[in-house]
């Protein structure tokens, strides 16, 4: 049932469905059971906090969610656990929606490439996510160009080229070890020359603690802005769904060096809930815009707080 929402056009995939099935057990079943037990007591609140922490929601946010729930239950003198459950659900959705309001409206202008810069730490799934984003924009009939900006990691260029061939998307690439700035410069020229609608810039994975590498991102951004002043119109930070509390630090540090406009949570087809999204939304207000749920180019969907919260925390069996 999650598939209805989380996937766009492609047909349901049995294997993926199985994967999400697993994700859906675990935490949300336990949350449901917790409220089914019937009493709103200290044990329930304590267990709820544990369940949220188990989903990587983090200590601070879990405390806050539970405290708010408790306050409202006491204020309204609620005794019905299901009503309390609904309050929690709404709180969680609201928390995420708060940051969704910061999503900027992006307009594709004729003759101006819509530049998407994709950044993140090593191994989060940037390259695969880029392939998915390319397919996503192709789905709207847009012409896409990819810049192989990861000139550092061995065979990263080959990897993105394989995707380019599969999707029939041209890839602008230099040799490994080259200057990523030069690749980006060439790609900007190519995007104009070929009148590409969308240009996606791959970048090498880097830990947010590496000062020089973070500064390099700023330079790449400056190169893009030489030809298109308001570009990149979208700067996406990819976060691995299994990431723990370090995800918040990542988001902070990347935001400081390049203005992150959107977050993509990758690998949400595993058992991880990506609960760090709540901390990022609450602390930084950066909208989660996309989620990745598999290894195929079509496994990308737009993020919707309600669907996400229902599917991963409460089960989506009710009210649908």
């Amino acid at each position: 049932m999650i598939l209805k929402f989380f996937r766009r056009k492609s047909a349901p995939d049995a294997q993926l469905e199985q994967g999400l099935e697993k994700t859906r057990r675990g935490v949300f079943l336990e949350i449901t059971r917790l409220f089914d037990r019937g009493v709103l007591d200290d044990d329930l609140y304590e267990e709820l906090e544990m369940l949220l922490i188990q989903a990587d929601v983090g200590w601070d946010v879990s405390q806050k969610l539970v405290a708010e729930l408790r306050q409202r239950v006491e204020r309204d003198r609620l005794v019905d656990p299901l009503a309390a459950r609904e309050i929690l659900r709404e709180e969680m959705i609201q928390l995420l929606e708060g940051s969704m309001r910061n999503r900027t409206v992006k307009i594709l202008q004729r003759g101006v490439p819509f530049v998407i810069m994709v950044v993140g730490v090593n191994g989060v799934g940037k390259t695969t996510s880029i392939a998915k984003l390319a397919a996503y924009h192709q789905g709207f009939g847009r012409s896409v160009l990819i810049a192989a900006g990861d000139t550092f990691r061995a065979a990263a260029i080959d990897q993105i080229k394989v995707w380019g061939e599969r999707l029939d998307v041209p890839v602008i690439a230099h040799a490994q070890g080259g200057d990523p700035g030069a690749v980006v410069f060439d790609a900007m020229q190519a995007a104009h020359a070929r009148a590409a609608d969308v240009l996606i810039l791959d970048t090498a994975g880097r830990l947010h603690t590496k000062h020089n590498l973070m500064a390099e991102l700023g330079k790449l951004r400056a190169i893009v802005q030489k030809t298109v002043p308001n570009a990149p119109q979208e700067t996406i930070l990819v976060i691995d769904a299994t990431t723990g509390q370090n995800g918040l630090v990542q988001a902070k540090e990347f935001s400081a060096s390049v203005a992150i406009t959107d977050i993509l949570i990758a690998k949400l087809d595993g058992t991880a809930k990506g609960g760090i999204a709540f901390s990022v939304a609450k602390e930084l207000g950066i909208p989660i815009s996309y989620i990745g749920t598999g290894e195929k180019a079509t496994d990308l969907s737009e993020f919707r707080p309600e669907t996400y919260v229902d599917a991963l925390f409460f089960g989506d069996t009710e009210g649908l």
Binding site: Q54, D158, T209, G244
Partner: protein, 446 residues
């Protein structure tokens, strides 16, 4: 949010100690802080609960309640317990009954398997061995090219059969290939996979049954959250995992995942990946990770990094000065010069143990441009002032500010931060001298 467990404990218990004895209630409050810090370090919630219970049991004992510095005593207990869980002894790689030694790397997507196959190969070659790497990831685009490129870079052969072959056969043929040529060890790279992906997990089981690896090493990302345990447990149930390689430890993740995995599955941590360079692979030292989870700083790493820039004798002298609380502004300036070559200043400060929250606050505000300012301020001091910062009075401050083109407030701030740091370090140092610290505090170079 960067406030660390050791700060919090020292703060909350330290305040109480001035009033007199600790009550059980105080210990409970402290345990709450411990639990919170563990959870913020991504320690699995069950592991955190059990851990707190065992620390509490020890902490309510006589020695803590009577101790003059209960904060430090509790930190000591937490530290000891952490080291116990992480495995007090370092476990080396196993030797096979007959060669070659076969090391198979498994894990989730993006954990760093391919990179670490190469790191491991380069590491083992240092012992005079001739490794072979086997390209078993036929799924991820260009994964084979990646391993080949790494192989060329470090001049280690790679066995591959392209993407149309079966990973099980590739592994079997790879081992046969190594036998024929007398290559040893064989390092098998495999595709990243979700632990819930049955067919993919079965594939690994088949490889295990056919080639009988000497070691199956789970490669796990240090930044992993609460799922780490489930992932490791699932891999361990299907395969006999013999060790863990914890990657991306050069970031600032606290690495609680490692603690959880070790505690729940008992899998020993064998290596730490600490950078993108091929030689960034270190044997695992439990004490260092314990310090990191506690947020106590890591003098050993500090010294090691300094060693890259200076001689061993100099580094040892520095260690001695740190422990004895003789670290002065001259040393600080000297370190600044060296650390400029190593990376941002904030990283050095992070490594200094017992950093007070004020200093941490300051750290957050220090950017690389501030290097210059700090340098200018210290350089505007006389040698005597650098060695004895306490003699710097109002007039000296004014002169230093003028000399360095800063304000008196800025000079004062630097001095205040420095004295804070010095105080903390000499405290720890004197405790070490009196033998009040557990044996394996960060100074144990073990």
């Amino acid at each position: 949010m960067f406030e660390t467990l050791s700060d919090r404990l020292a703060e909350s218990l330290g305040r109480l100690s001035r009033k007199g004895r600790l009550t059980e209630q105080d210990v409970d409050n402290a345990m709450r802080e411990v639990r919170r810090a563990l959870l913020e370090a991504d320690v699995n919630f069950k592991v955190a609960r059990d851990f707190v219970a065992s620390v509490r049991e020890r902490a309510v004992g006589q020695d803590v309640l009577k101790s003059l510095t209960p904060g430090q005593t509790v930190i000591g207990i937490v530290n000891e317990e952490l080291v116990t869980i992480l495995g007090a002894e370092r476990e080396p790689l196993r030797n096979p009954d007959r060669p070659p030694q076969i090391l198979m790397l498994v894990g989730l997507q993006g954990s760093g398997k391919t990179t670490h196959a190469a790191k491991l190969a380069a590491h083992l070659r240092k012992d005079g061995r001739s490794p072979l790497m086997v390209a078993g990831d036929v799924y991820r685009p260009a994964a084979i090219n990646q391993l080949q490129a790494l192989g060329r870079q470090i001049n280690i052969p790679v066995y591959e059969e392209g993407v149309n072959s079966d990973p099980v056969n590739i592994a079997i043929n790879g081992v046969a290939h190594a036998r024929e040529r007398g290559l040893n060890p064989v390092i098998i790279d495999t595709a990243g996979r979700l632990q819930i992906d049955e067919p993919m997990m079965q594939e690994l089981v088949n490889v295990e049954q056919r080639v009988h690896p000497t070691e199956i090493l789970l490669v796990a990302d240090a930044m992993t959250g609460q799922e780490a345990v489930n992932v490791a447990d699932a891999f361990n149930q299907k395969l006999s995992i013999t060790g863990l390689i914890l990657t991306k430890m050069d970031g600032d993740a606290r690495g609680g995942a490692a603690l959880s995995i070790r505690s729940v599955t008992g899998i020993p941590i064998k290596f730490i990946g600490s950078g993108e360079k091929i030689d960034a692979l270190e044997p695992f030292y439990p004490q260092r990770l314990a310090s990191r989870i506690l947020g106590m700083g890591d003098v050993v790493s500090l010294i090691e990094r300094a060693q890259e820039q200076t001689s061993e004798a100099d580094a040892l002298k520095m260690q001695d000065r740190l422990v004895k609380g003789q670290f002065n502004l001259e040393d600080f300036l000297d370190q600044l010069q060296k650390v400029k070559k190593m990376g941002p200043l904030s990283q050095l400060l992070e490594l200094i143990p017992g950093m007070g929250s004020q200093l941490r606050q300051a750290k957050a505000e220090i950017s690389d441009d501030d290097y210059k300012q700090i340098e200018a301020i210290i350089r505007s001091m006389t040698n005597t002032e650098r060695r004895n910062p306490h003699i710097i009075d109002g007039r000296r401050r004014r002169r230093i500010a003028r000399g360095s083109g800063t304000s008196r407030e800025e000079v004062s701030q630097l001095l205040k931060q420095f004295s804070e740091m010095q105080k903390m370090m000499s405290q720890i140092g004197s405790m070490a001298k009196k033998g009040r610290l557990p044996k394996n505090m960060p100074f144990d170079l073990g």
